[in-house]
């Protein structure tokens, strides 16, 4: 890896639920502008790690820092204010609102106006509202959902809902994006388009941490891969290194799957 500055540091993080150890001792770093994937079998602790990094879960030990700010004690919405935005595996949309309104909700961080200004409909509030609507339109176009703008988000196909989820996260203007299994439920061509989208996001200078099961997709898109098993990191490196790592093949990909 080159001399990139560090975006996120995960330092000796452990998470225990009673006697169950979800993460035992996890340390790794994500550089600015990098695409890092976190992989591992089901139950390896990937989503738990995400929850710790975004304040939805307090770690039993260890620390997480983003751009030199320790995240301990911060609420999820405060972490979002640092520019650290995540997506979710299952609940990725506001189902009863249109796709367009979903994005307007997602633009929360851009649209803060004083409540009184909004109630009195002062020019400042109206201008901010216009800006938000324009931005929502741009985001729709970026993820390719213009045609679905006025459909209820809950009525979209599963793959499209994942896209809305990503657009929502982008609306929050992340400097780092954490994607939790974004291509599950997508077909091959949708996945292919999604890989392009992720690269496009990175090209805008947004750091990406990805949790994903789709191995070909992970191998294509990642700069670096971190492999978790039973709450421990068992390997870390470029896709090429991971593909040939015997421990990974043994624990995760299974025998003879090294050519995946």
């Amino acid at each position: 890896m080159t001399a990139r500055s560090i975006a996120m540091t995960i330092d000796q993080v452990a998470v225990r639920f009673g006697g169950l150890v979800a993460i035992s001792d996890m340390s790794f770093e994500v550089g600015e502008g990098e695409i890092v994937s976190l992989i591992g079998p089901n139950g390896a602790g990937k989503t738990t790690a995400f929850n710790v990094m975004t304040g939805f879960l307090t770690p039993s030990a260890g620390r997480v820092a983003y751009r030199n700010t320790a995240l301990a004690g911060l609420k999820p919405h405060e972490i979002a204010d640092l520019g650290l935005i995540r997506t979710f595996q299952r609940t990725s949309v506001f189902p009863n609102d249109t796709v367009y309104d979903n994005l307007l909700i997602g633009l929360h961080r851009q649209g803060r106006v004083r409540l009184l200004d909004a109630i009195l409909s002062l020019p400042g509030a109206r201008a901010s509202e216009r800006k938000l609507r324009q931005r929502a339109g741009e985001l729709l176009e970026w993820v390719g959902l213009e045609r679905r703008a006025h459909d209820a988000a809950g009525s979209l196909s599963y793959g499209e809902q994942r896209l809305v989820g990503v657009a929502l996260a982008l609306a929050a203007e992340p400097s780092m994006l954490l994607l939790d299994e974004p291509v599950s439920g997508m077909n091959a061509s949708e996945t292919h388009r999604f890989v392009e989208l992720i690269r496009g996001i990175r090209d805008r200078g947004i750091t990406i941490l990805l949790v994903e099961h789709d191995m070909p997709m992970v191998m294509t898109v990642s700069d670096r891969i971190v492999v978790l098993n039973y709450g421990r990191i068992i390997a870390e490196g470029t896709p090429e290194v991971i593909r040939n790592d015997p421990a990974v093949i043994e624990a995760y990909l299974g025998h003879g799957a090294g050519r995946a």
């Binding site: 609420k75 609940t91 309104d101 307007l104 909700i105 929360h108 909004a118 109630i119 901010s128 929050a172």
Partner: protein
């Protein structure tokens, strides 16, 4: 189209005292209007944040008592031999104080109970209303307890240069209630369509996701509770100065239930819902009075509510609106939206 309906509805409501001479009916309309304001405030919480406040009448009652006591004055003993004496102030100040103090109570209830949402919020609000009722019942020195506060003055509007206009007649009070209701309606409409309204909706639909894009749950819900309580307090103040006698029974649970019925039947989460539901259930007693005993009327309300929700499950206004759009989109397919259209769209 929607604006036209609103203006027509307001014009129709404004014209009522001009052709309706029956004081009994006008009285029913005024009290209904006051309860509609209460129902609108309840809808702000129930319909737009999803939190059911089953003690909502507490804010209404607090508004009523604050306003009445401000305009009547009081003289009470405090611990340590002190006395707190308040000389009567103009009722209009009571109205303002009712809004502020009810809003403050909304702040504390919100702060306390939004840490524990859902069923817990329901319990906290019920308990709050019951505690306030017991205080009103037992702090006889301040509230006269069950003997009620009587002779509450009419609201008087200060007119610059002209002195005061005391609102004595039913017609004057009708217009007062109508104006306050309109302001409350517009305030809620602006709020709901603003950035803040979208935060509320986001929290109601998917709290985890809303939090992840930076929406502050506690702040959003507390602000909604404050505004909702303040509007309920305003309604309570109107009630006190119109009825001119209040006793602890204003805190009765059945009054909250009435508001909830108004909101649910009209359609929670729709701006016009509580108005429509409120008019139906506010005026139903008037319609049923000649034919039914009061006890039997409650059964009839239940029947009407069930009938409404059976035919229009989401409440009158949302269900009808849905049918209307479905019929329209059946003939003309929705055109795909282009970027220029969405970009140029004016805020609602």
């Amino acid at each position: 189209m929607r604006a036209a309906v609103t203006i027509l509805a307001v014009a129709a409501l404004a014209s009522v005292p001009l052709w309706l001479r029956d004081p009994y009916l006008l009285n029913a309309l005024i009290t209904t209007g006051i309860f509609v304001i209460g129902a609108m405030s309840l809808n702000l919480l129930l319909g737009f944040t999803g939190q059911l406040s089953l003690g909502h009448i507490a804010f209404f009652g607090i508004g009523a008592y604050v306003s009445a006591l401000t305009s009547l004055g009081f003289d009470i003993g405090l611990p340590g031999g002190f006395r707190l004496v308040h000389t009567p102030w103009p009722p209009i100040l009571g109205f303002v104080l009712a809004i502020l103090i009810a809003g403050l109570c909304g702040y504390f209830v919100g702060l306390l109970s939004f840490r524990v949402r859902g069923a817990y919020f329901v319990i906290v609000t019920i308990s709050f209303a019951e505690v306030v009722r017991l205080v009103a019942l037992n702090w006889v020195e301040l509230t006269q307890g069950p003997l009620a506060l009587t002779n509450i003055p009419f609201i008087a509007l200060p007119l610059p240069g002209l002195g005061e206009l005391t609102l004595r007649t039913k017609m004057q009070n009708y217009y007062l209630v109508l104006v306050v209701a309109l302001i409350a309606y517009l305030l809620i409409a602006r709020l709901v369509h603003s950035h803040f309204g979208r935060s509320m909706r986001g929290l109601m639909e998917n709290e985890t996701l809303a939090v992840s894009v930076g929406i502050d749950v506690t702040r959003t819900l507390t602000i909604a509770a404050v505004i909702s309580a303040a509007i309920a307090g305003a309604a309570g103040s109107l009630y006190a100065h119109y009825i001119r006698i209040i006793d602890p029974e204003v805190f009765a649970f059945i009054n909250t239930v009435t508001m909830v019925i108004m909101v649910i039947s009209g359609g929670k989460g729709s701006l016009a819902g509580p108005v429509v539901g409120g008019l139906i259930f506010g005026l139903l007693p008037v319609a049923l009075r000649p034919v039914m005993a009061p006890e039997a009327q409650w059964i009839a309300y239940g029947g009407v509510l069930i009938a409404i929700l059976f035919v229009l499950p989401r409440g009158i206004v949302p269900s009808l609106a849905q049918r209307l759009t479905r019929r329209r989109s059946g003939t003309t397919a929705l055109a795909p939206v282009t970027l220029t259209e969405t970009g140029a769209k004016e805020p609602a």
